[in-house]
Symmetry: C2
C-alpha cells in the first residue's frame, strides 16, 4: 500500500513493484524492474469502490493534476481548472488518481532513475516503452496498489487521451467510461515529423552525450529548441496572432541584430524553452515522444492485435480503418470524445475517426468539437463547456453504475 | 555591363556596384559596399525593351531558376517547371532575369563574402538587410547593369512574392504587372515563431561560434535542424499523410531504439536536413529569415512610409489594414495574386488581405486560390493551372504594353 513520499512534496505518493525477478515485460520484449510509480490522489474512494477516476497526463505533465485543498500552500496543478471540489471532475464526489507515466522524470521510473544493474542513471540503457506499457503500469497501480477493480472513468488530453483509448481496449471490463480529449488513435505523420525534429535538436546538443549527461552539464539548449518547436504546435495561428501579432518586445524599432528578441512572439518562445529545461529531463523527452509516435491503437491494442493475427492467419491484409474498428470490439465503456476546432496537432478529423470506429461497434458515444481560437493546448485552459460536459457525463455514468447498468451497449444488452 | 562568371557555372553572371565611398545605405542606416550580384538571364531582351520579367527566389533559392537550353548539360533550376521555351514563363518570348538576393550564399554578397575592411568573411559583421534592401539592389541591377527601365512582370513565391510586393510599391512606375505567389504582406506570428526556433537551433550549435566559423567546422547540425523545422512548414498534414503515412523505413517492426529512423517521414526529414547543409550557409539562413520576419509592406513600402509619417504628423495612429491600402496607393501594376488551399505557412487569408488592399486602390487584380493537397511548396511543383494562368496573364500584359495601355487603373485613366 502507498506511503507518503519522503522526498519532495508530501502530496506525491510512491508505489514500487516489478521487483526482480518479476520484472515487467514491455511491448518491445525488454524487461523493466523494479518500477516506482509516483501518483497523487484526490477525494475519497467510496465504500462501493465505484467512484474512481483515472487521469492520464500529457507529454510534459505529472501526477500533480490539481492542488490539494486540504494541504496548505498546495501548488496549482496542470488541470486545476477541471479537477477539484465542485469542478468538472468533482473531488467531493469522485476519487481521482493521477500517476506520472513511466519514462517520465516526475517521480516514476525513467531514464534519469538509477539503473539497479549499474548503480548509475539509466540514460539510454532505459528500455523503450509504449503507451501500452504506460497503461500496463497504471493498471498495476490501480488494481494492486489501490485495490480498485473498476474505473468510473479514464480521461486525459493529448498523450493522456491515447492512454484512455488503450485502457478502454486493453482492459475493457474495467473501464465504465472513457473521455479522450484532443487526442488521436495515432499521431499524424506531421506530428511525428515535429517530434523527430525535436529529438534531433536534443541529439545535436553536445552535452546530450548519447544520453549520458547526468551529473554533468545538461543538454539544455537542445531541449529548449525541442520545446520551442513543440510549443508552436500547441498554439494556433490565430491565437498567436491575437496574443502577439507583430508587436515588438521591449523596443520601439526593429533591432537589426541577432541579440535580444525583436518580436514578442520570439521572446515568449525563448522564455518557454528556458522555463521547460528547468523542469524536464531531455532523455524523458526522447522516450515519451517515441512512445507517442509509436502509438497506433489500430495495431497495438489487445483486441486489434488479436484481430491482426487472425487476419494474418487468414491471409488477409490489414486495413487501418477496419483495424481501428476491431480495436474497440471488446470495449465496454461509454465514450465522450472531445476535440477543438483550432487544434491542428490532433485535428478534429482524428477524433472523428475514433467516433466512427466506436459507432461501428455500437458503443454509446458522445462527440463534441469545441469551437476554439486556441490550438491543442485549449484543453488545459479554463473551459466551462468542457467542465459542464464532463460533470454531466460523469454524473450519468455514475448513476448507471449505481443502478447496475454500467454497460455502454444497450442494443446488445437488451437483445 | 555583365561579364561571364569566371568561377563556377558560366551561366551565372556577376555585377558589382556600390563601391566605396558610394556604398548602399540600407534600411537600418548601415552601409554595404561593394556589392556583387549574381544573376542569370534567359531569352533575349526585345528591341523595344518591353519583355523583361524579373523572378525573385525564395529563402533557399538562387539565380538558377531554370536550365539554359543553349548550354549543354545545364542543370535543372528551382522553377524548371515554369520557366523555359514554351512554358508558363516562355523564354522564347520573354527576357527573364533572376538575381540571387543579397545576404544569400549563391554568388551575391552575403555574410560568407569577404569583408573588404578586414579581409575575412563578414560573419555577423554583415549588416542586417531587409526585403526592401534586396529589392533596392535588384533595381540597381535591372536599371544600371541591364539597362531595363520597365519590367513587364515581377514574380516569385514566398519571400520572392514579398519582393514582388515591395517592387510594385517602391518602384510603381517600373512594374507593368506583379505576380506574388503563395506570399503575404507580412509573415504570420506563427511563421516568425518557426523561423525563430530555426535560428535558435543554429545559435545552439557550438560550431556556429557567433557566426565566425568560416574555414572551421561548420554548424551543420544546427542548420539541419532549422531546415527540418522549415521543411515541415512547407508541406501539409495531408501531403505528409499521403506521402509517408506511418510506413516504416527499411524495417518491418518498430526499432524500439534511438538509432535509424523508424518511420519514413523521419528518414525523409533527416535526408532533407543533411542535403541542405551541403548547399547553404548558416549565417545566410539567419539573415534571410530575419529579412522575411522584418518584412511588413504596410509599414515598410515607400508609399506606406510616407502615409505613416503623414498620419504621425496629424497625430493619428496607424491601422494595419489601412496602412496596407496606403502601401499600394502609387502602384501602377496589374496584379495576379495566387495562393494554395493547402498552404498553412502563407495561408490564403493573407493573399486575400493583399487583394482587398489592391481593390481598395482600384488596382486591376486577378486572384486565384489553387486547390491543392500540398502545402507552401506547391508553387514549386508542376502545376498546369498556374502555368496557364501565368501564360495568359503575361500575354495580356504584354499586349497592353505594346498597345500603349500598360496602366492597371482603367477608371482613373479613362477619367
Amino acid at each position: 500500500m502507498p506511503g507518503n513520499d519522503s522526498v519532495g512534496s508530501v502530496e506525491v505518493k510512491h508505489w514500487r513493484f516489478a521487483e526482480p525477478p518479476d520484472q515487467l515485460v514491455l511491448r518491445s520484449g525488454a524487461t523493466l524492474g523494479p518500477i516506482e510509480v509516483a501518483y497523487e490522489t484526490y477525494g475519497e474512494l467510496s465504500p462501493e469502490r465505484d467512484n474512481a477516476i483515472l487521469i492520464c497526463h500529457a507529454l510534459s505533465g505529472d501526477s500533480h493534476v490539481a492542488s490539494h485543498p486540504e494541504s496548505a500552500g498546495s501548488k496549482e496543478g496542470w488541470w486545476e481548472k477541471m479537477v477539484g471540489p465542485g469542478r468538472g471532475i468533482d473531488t467531493d464526489r469522485y476519487f481521482v488518481i493521477c500517476p506520472n507515466c513511466i519514462a517520465g522524470c516526475k517521480g516514476s521510473t525513467g531514464p534519469s532513475s538509477v539503473n539497479p544493474r549499474t548503480g548509475k542513471p539509466y540514460g539510454l540503457e532505459f528500455p523503450m516503452v509504449t503507451i501500452g506499457d504506460m497503461v500496463h503500469v497504471q493498471h498495476a497501480l490501480v488494481t494492486q496498489c489501490l485495490g480498485v477493480e473498476r474505473l468510473l472513468a479514464v480521461t486525459g488530453g493529448s498523450m493522456g487521451g491515447m492512454q484512455v483509448l488503450q485502457w478502454a481496449t486493453d482492459y475493457p471490463e474495467m473501464v465504465v467510461s472513457a473521455i479522450p480529449i484532443a487526442s488521436a488513435s495515432r499521431l499524424s505523420a506531421q506530428g511525428i515529423a515535429f517530434d523527430e525534429v525535436g529529438r534531433q535538436a536534443i541529439y545535436s546538443d553536445p552535452h546530450w552525450n548519447g544520453g549520458d549527461y547526468y551529473g554533468q552539464e545538461l543538454p539544455h539548449r537542445g531541449l529548449a529548441v525541442a520545446r520551442m518547436i513543440a510549443h508552436i504546435t500547441y498554439l494556433s495561428d490565430r491565437s498567436m496572432h491575437e496574443k502577439f501579432g507583430h508587436r515588438l518586445q521591449d523596443r520601439t524599432e526593429l533591432g537589426y541584430d541577432f541579440g535580444p528578441a525583436d518580436f514578442q512572439v520570439e521572446s515568449y518562445l525563448r522564455y518557454q524553452g528556458d522555463k521547460f529545461v528547468q523542469r524536464f529531463d531531455a532523455n524523458s523527452y526522447l522516450y515519451i515522444t517515441k512512445a507517442i509516435n509509436y502509438f497506433d491503437l489500430a495495431t497495438d491494442s489487445r483486441a486489434a492485435r488479436a484481430a491482426y493475427e487472425r487476419a494474418k492467419a487468414e491471409g488477409k491484409g490489414a486495413d487501418h480503418a477496419h483495424s481501428l474498428i476491431q480495436a474497440f470490439s471488446e470495449t465496454q465503456a461509454r465514450f465522450l470524445v472531445v476535440s477543438y476546432s483550432g487544434d491542428w496537432l490532433y485535428p478534429t478529423y482524428q477524433s472523428k475517426d475514433i467516433v466512427r470506429a466506436l459507432q461501428a461497434n455500437g458503443v454509446v458515444t458522445t462527440f463534441c468539437e469545441i469551437q476554439s481560437a486556441y490550438g491543442h493546448d485549449a484543453f488545459l485552459l479554463k473551459d466551462q463547456q468542457l467542465a459542464d460536459m464532463m460533470r454531466d457525463f460523469l454524473h450519468h455514468a455514475h448513476l448507471a453504475v449505481r443502478n447496475g447498468k454500467p454497460g455502454p451497449r444497450p442494443a446488445r444488452q437488451e437483445g
